[in-house]
């Protein structure tokens, strides 16, 4: 073997080793969670990387708890509402910010960007008072409101950037055809903005689905909780026992919808994130 061939082989091997490391780093925790969730609790603390037998008792346990099913329902309600509201407001705002010339447009954009820089903790107590004042405490609507506040800046910013790239003449053609701004948005721009909407919508969904701090603070009873809080509050038989099996089963259950959504939209996400990067 010549040294050149050896070097090529070494490069190739090195590349795949690196890929393997990255894959294990990214996927192994989730894989181990799946494995753990499918083990009976008696085998929980014997380390093994393969499944010898399937045991779905953990899943049965969590789904037999009415509060967990209720939490999934709450999470779906909250996340979908956040996505719907954020996209509706985002698209209309991006039309105004991307298409209508008015004084102070840049200022508005900068304020939007500035708002998104506040950490959640900074506004937590203030927001708590607002939600109490509005009578939304321990109510999914309170979560929808607070998540939308944090999702909107990103949504508006991305959609505005995308909207600015749509050719001006397209809008003018619609105006010549007699379209009102609303018709222009819904009939002409929306069909072209699907990639950007899929991206921002999915990111908003994931953020709302995973959010913990607000969900913990703004809800009180089991029937109003969302999944992340519900999982954290799953308790075992005694104070000193953490029920790892059901926790893992619950985690896997709530991860699956996200994985499916990302798979459905993955192509659009890529085209949404890179839109306008190259002319095409």
């Amino acid at each position: 073997m010549t040294s050149r061939q050896f070097r090529r082989l070494a490069t190739r091997v090195g590349f795949w080793v690196l890929v393997a490391v990255v894959l294990i780093y990214a996927i192994f925790p989730f894989y181990y969670a799946v494995i753990t969730s499918l083990k009976p609790s008696s085998e929980l603390f014997t380390v093994s990387y393969w499944l010898d037998s399937l045991d779905v008792s953990n899943y049965v346990t969590i789904f037999s708890q009415g509060s967990f099913v209720r939490a999934i329902f709450n999470s779906i309600l909250v996340s979908i509402s956040v996505v719907a509201i954020a996209l509706l407001l985002g698209v209309t705002a991006s039309y105004a910010l991307g298409r209508v010339r008015f004084r102070g447009r840049t200022t508005v954009m900068l304020v939007i960007l500035g708002v998104s820089m506040f950490p959640q903790v900074a506004v937590l107590s203030g927001l708590f008072e607002v939600i109490r004042g509005l009578g939304l405490y321990n109510n999914p609507a309170g979560l929808i409101l607070s998540y939308t506040i944090f999702t909107l800046p990103f949504t508006v910013w991305v959609l505005t950037t995308f909207m600015k790239q749509l050719p001006m003449e397209l809008e003018e053609a619609a105006i010549m055809d007699g379209a009102t701004p609303w018709v222009t948005i819904t009939k002409v721009f929306l069909p072209l903005m699907w990639p950007a909407m899929a991206t921002t919508g999915l990111l908003a969904f994931i953020a709302a689905w995973n959010e913990f701090l607000f969900a913990l603070t703004f809800t009180l009873t089991d029937s109003q909780r969302t999944v992340p809080v519900a999982i954290a509050l799953i308790s075992g038989g005694s104070q000193h026992e953490l029920p790892w099996g059901p926790i893992m089963a619950a985690s896997v259950t709530v991860t699956v919808p996200l994985v499916i959504l990302v798979m459905i939209f993955q192509r659009r996400i890529v085209s949404g994130l890179t839109a306008g990067a190259v002319k095409g």
């Binding site: 003018e172 010549m176 055809d177």
Partner: protein
């Protein structure tokens, strides 16, 4: 179809006065071309007529109606954009039907009109394709179809051919001309290409810095430009300009002297100009004769371009740095480095004063 009347039209953007007191009448069924260099306001003027920009001052009438404050859809205008601006997610049929649908036209009427338009533009085969599956020329036709389907009173074209390659441009130019003959529609067409303007227009409007320089038929503009700007803009290759001086002006005409040409007796009325006034002599490349050099009155040949049917000969000018051009039928026996005398054909020479205004001809009746 309708006529259009512009009365002291003005457009101001912030501090920029883009359109200045434009007066213009466009007859029913006329093909009018706005032409001028980039930034002259021709596109803005078109957009004012379309209703895409608001009119700062003045009055715009379409037919008998003042339309200053009407939105585009109520003006009865259709527009073809430079980039076509077809709706990418709609088929050709949907593109053409969009405006009609918004106008709440009955479905049968929509189909009838779209099909009729498609037939005229030979788009019948393409009705179910999306714009991305069409060639440049086809997209151009769809853009025209979309503008025509609503049966507007006026069709507006904003540099519609500038995205096409040269051969397709000639072909589409012909199609547009034939379409106009067939439909008899009032058309306003914006271009920076004077060849398009000359070939398509019934009437050309030359714009410069937001003002109308001259309005006339292609022939009038070519043969009798009123200003030096129009003279230089219309015609390819461009008119030759030489600095000249008035030697004597009488009711019979002018005697002028130009460096390198000598003295010429021209049939122009000197008007208020007297001996010693600085003028500019304008001669088109085909109105120059060549003779062997004699004395001081000669120019050096710096380049010869052979174009097959024609030959362009370039001369080093005495003043300035714009080469003088002579145009004649091929073949030519002149070569680079030779000197030749330039003999302008007196009947076709133009004289411009220092403001760029043309001196009028003494009319034939007066001379006789």
């Amino acid at each position: 179809m309708a006529s259009v009347k512009l009365d002291k039209l003005n457009k101001v953007f912030g501090h920029d006065h883009i359109i200045k007191d434009v007066d213009l009448g466009i007859g029913d069924g006329e093909f009018v071309v706005f032409v001028g260099p980039s930034g002259c306001g021709k596109s803005t003027l078109l957009r004012l007529i379309a209703g895409l920009e608001s009119i700062t001052d003045g009055e715009l009438r379409i037919g008998e109606q003042v339309v200053n404050d009407l939105p585009p859809r109520e003006r009865g205008v259709g527009m073809v954009f430079q980039s076509y601006a077809l709706y990418p997610h709609m088929t050709v049929y949907e593109n053409m039907a969009f405006g009609l649908k918004l106008a709440k036209t009955a479905n049968e009427t929509i189909e009838e009109r779209v099909m009729a338009t498609a037939r005229i533009l030979q788009l019948e085969e393409l009705l179910h394709r999306k714009p991305k599956e069409l060639s440049g020329g086809q997209r151009q036709r769809v853009a025209m179809g979309r503008a025509m389907a609503r049966e507007p009173r006026i069709l507006l074209f904003d540099e519609p051919l500038s995205n096409l390659d040269a051969s397709l441009r000639v072909q589409m130019r012909n199609e547009i001309a034939r379409l106009h003959q067939r439909l008899g529609a009032t058309v306003i067409y914006v271009t920076h290409d004077q060849v398009e303007a000359m070939t398509l227009a019934d009437k050309i409007v030359v714009l410069n810095a937001g003002q109308v320089e001259q309005v006339g038929t292609p022939q009038e503009l070519y043969q009798r430009p009123l200003t030096k700007f129009v003279a230089g803009f219309i015609g390819s290759p461009t008119m030759n300009f030489l600095p000249a001086e008035m030697v004597a002006g009488t009711t019979e005409g002018c005697r002028v002297h130009a460096n390198g040409i000598g003295e010429l007796d021209l049939p122009q009325d000197p008007g208020r100009h007297g001996a010693g006034d600085a003028l500019t002599l304008g001669v088109r490349p085909e109105h120059l004769g060549l003779a062997p050099a004699s004395g001081d009155n000669s120019f050096e040949i710096v380049n010869v371009e052979y174009l097959g049917n024609e030959v362009y000969i370039y001369f080093e000018p005495k003043d300035g740095d714009t080469l003088l051009i002579h145009r004649s039928e091929a073949p030519s026996c002149w070569e680079i480095g030779q000197h030749a005398a330039l003999l302008p054909s007196v009947a076709n020479v133009h004289l411009f004063d220092s403001d760029g205004c043309a001196l009028a001809l003494i009319s034939t009746r007066d001379a006789a």
